[in-house]
Structures are given as structure tokens and as C-alpha cells.
């Protein structure tokens, strides 16, 4: 399945439903989730050398998260769309007193990688070690990114 002769059908059959569910969870819109799901596979196929032979799902999950967040960021404001609010609520209810601060940056100009890390940690409940494994950084690097994020937000809020 992996390598130069990538079998797109087999790749989709194995991972497509998981990717679609991830996009659905973040986007709360079936049509958008389907659209972003296809983008995920386009992205993976273009950069197939990044696929790990043992855990392709890790890369696919991270790309699905990142592209879904990009789509949320790019949405026009629409009072009828409940998707953003539901996810914001999920973040706000995360067992972390910093969770409300995350709302401020999620749609702001923060590096995509840092934003994805924060969702994996605060929304999906991954440990710092797991996030580091997902994103190809050291644990200390992830910790520093999230700490820096919280510090900058506190500065913005005048805390």
C-alpha cells in the first residue's frame, strides 16, 4: 500500500472512514467533511514518503486535524453554523483552566503546527508524549510551544 506504487483505493478503503469521522467531529458538516477528507488523501499522496510503514493512521489523523482547522478558520461567519460553537464548547469544557484561552488563538494567526498540537492535547486528550510522537517534535518542544502560547494569550488578556 505504501511506497511509489501507492494504491489509492486500498488506502482510502482502510483509512477513509477514520479520516471522515475526524473531519466530521471538527467540522460538524457532512459536505465539508467529505471535501476535506479528499484533501487529506491528496495531501498524503503528494507527500507519500512521509507515510510511516507502521503507523500511517498517525499522519492521516494529524493532516485531517490540520486541514479541518484551516477550513474552520477560512469559513465566513454564518449565524446558522453551529459547528464552530460546538467545538468551542468542547474545548471550553476540556479539564484545563487554560482551555478558554485556546479559543482566542484557534482562529488567529498562530502557526498551524502549534494550533494542531493544542487541539490534539486539549481536545483529543493526548499526552504531551503522544503529541510529540504525532508531530515529530521532542516532548520539550511541544511543552515549550504550548507554554509560549499560553503566555502570549495571557499577555493579550492583560493577566
Amino acid at each position: 500500500m505504501l511506497g511509489a506504487g501507492l494504491n489509492v483505493e486500498a488506502l482510502y478503503e482502510r483509512y477513509g472512514p477514520m479520516v471522515l469521522r475526524r473531519c466530521r467531529y471538527l467540522l460538524r458538516d457532512e459536505d465539508e467533511a467529505l471535501d476535506v477528507m479528499q484533501d487529506v488523501f491528496v495531501n498524503v499522496i503528494r507527500h507519500r514518503e512521509r507515510l510511516r510503514a507502521d503507523y500511517p493512521s498517525s499522519l492521516l489523523y494529524r493532516i485531517a486535524t490540520n486541514l479541518s482547522l484551516n477550513r474552520i478558520r477560512d469559513r465566513k461567519r454564518d449565524p446558522g453554523r453551529a459547528g464552530d460553537e460546538e467545538m468551542l464548547h468542547a474545548i471550553a469544557c476540556a479539564p484545563d483552566h487554560d482551555a478558554p484561552l485556546i479559543l482566542r488563538w484557534l482562529f488567529g494567526r498562530h502557526p498551524e503546527s502549534t494550533r494542531t498540537m493544542a487541539v490534539l492535547h486539549y481536545v483529543d486528550g493526548m499526552t504531551l508524549e503522544q503529541v510529540a510522537g504525532e508531530c515529530g517534535l521532542s516532548v520539550s518542544g511541544v511543552r515549550k510551544r504550548l507554554r509560549g502560547l499560553r503566555a502570549s494569550l495571557r499577555a493579550v488578556e492583560g493577566r
Binding site: 489509492v8 483505493e9 486500498a10 482510502y12 478503503e13 482502510r14 483509512y15 477513509g16 472512514p17 477514520m18 471522515l20 469521522r21 475526524r22 467531529y25 467529505l34 479528499q38 484533501d39 488523501f41 491528496v42 495531501n43 499522496i45 503528494r46 507527500h47 514518503e49 512521509r50 510511516r52 507502521d54 503507523y55 500511517p56 493512521s57 498517525s58 499522519l59 489523523y61 490540520n66 486541514l67 484551516n70 477550513r71 477560512d74 502557526p111 502549534t114 483529543d124 486528550g125 493526548m126 510522537g133 515529530g136 517534535l137 521532542s138 520539550s140 518542544g141 515549550k144 510551544r145 509560549g148
Partner: protein, 259 residues
Amino acid sequence: MMASRRIAAWQLERHRLGELPPDEAARVDEALVGDAEVRAQIDELRADDVRVLDAHPPRVMAAAIRERIERESHASSPSRARIPLLSAAAAALCLLAFLPLALQRSSLPETRIKGLAPSLLVFRESANRPEPLAASSVARADDVIQLAYQAAGRPFGVVISIDGRGHVTRHLPRTGDRAARLESGGPVPLSEAYRLDDAPGFELFFLVTADAPFSVEAVVREAERQYGNAVGPARAGIRLDLPPNLAQFRFELRKEGSR
């Protein structure tokens, strides 16, 4: 899908795919035995797989994905969701023009200069064409950097960068602990460009190469160690203290506003 409190949704997904590390898989196995809610969630995932594949069959979806790739490859402007590889022609032109300059600036004591040595070439995306950067060039936040390596016969390598905040980024390989197998021949661009953030001071790029596989984490930890041991401006001058079987090539970008 709301996951069990003990088992997250992403763990259930990967457990079904057989792609969890052994210790995490064992936790899920234990939950499956003792928790009816977890078993119900697995059943729901299985049922949803069938619904998805029925509604969007693999052959149809694969065709749609291929069509999208072809359509985007002819598009004039890149997607905002990705930083695309520079066009092959532009990249090749820049690499060929820049290579002699790169060799001049790669004369570091720790690299063997015998013919061609492993090196990194660094480009910045600009409106017209990729701009080759020399060592100590000034860069700024949001600059998009494209890296290319010259393996010079070394079969294994790692590319990392460390910024003025001490954050290490892995560029090659992006995951796993084993050094990447390097391609031989001309300069090889990495598959994805890299957007600089607002970290102050500098961005140091390291290409570490060897004749045999080696640990990526060891290189990352060494970079963090050197950063941690240095103070203030000296951090911009750090080099990796590596075993004799590893060669390093170092490339520094100065961040705008730094001295």
C-alpha cells in the same frame, strides 16, 4: 462519537487498525473485556465503516481524489492549506546556480571536504522565483523556506532546525527515530516547505549524515542540550557535539531585528 472516559476516540480508531503501540493496545484490549460502552463504540465504528464505504465506494472516491490532484497540479495558485514544493523546474534552476556558492560557505571544520560534502541549500519563496539564501542571511516571520540536501554519498541523514526560542523542528524524517535514507545525485528538495514563525534571533538548520542509520532523537536532544548550555547571543553559534561517525552541516538564518 463520544469516546469512553478511559479510552479516547483516536485510540479506538487506531486500535481497530492495529496501529497502536503495544502498551496502549493492551489498555484498549483490557477495556474491551471489561467495558460494555467501549465494545459498543467499537461496534458503532465498524457499522460506520460500512455506511461510509457504501455511500462513497473506494473506486469512486479514488477517482475523485486523483482528479483533484490533477486539477490542483494545474492550478495557478497554491492551496492555503499546504505549502507546496517549489516547481521542479524552478527548484532545479536555483539549485544548479547556487551550488558553487553553497560549497564555499560549507567549509566547516567538522565536514570532510573532499570533492563534494553533504550540505543544505536554503531558498526563500518570493513572488517571482525561489530566492537562494546564503548563510547568515536575514529572514523574517512568515518567510517560507525550502530546504534541499546534497547527500554527497552519505546514505543516511537527518535535517532539523532550532530557533531562537530553543524549539527544535524535524524536517527529515518528520516521524520515527531512524535517520532517513538519503537520495543520491543532485540536490534533493525536501517534500514540504517551512514557514518561519516569530521566534527571535535565529533559525539554525543542521544536516547530519552518516554511513549507517542513527537515532533522530539523539540529534534532537543534542541540539536542545547545546541550546540549553549556551547563553544569550552564544546560542546563535551553537554546533552539535556528535560522534565521529556523524557529519554535520550547519546553516544559519538571522531573524530580522536581531544583531
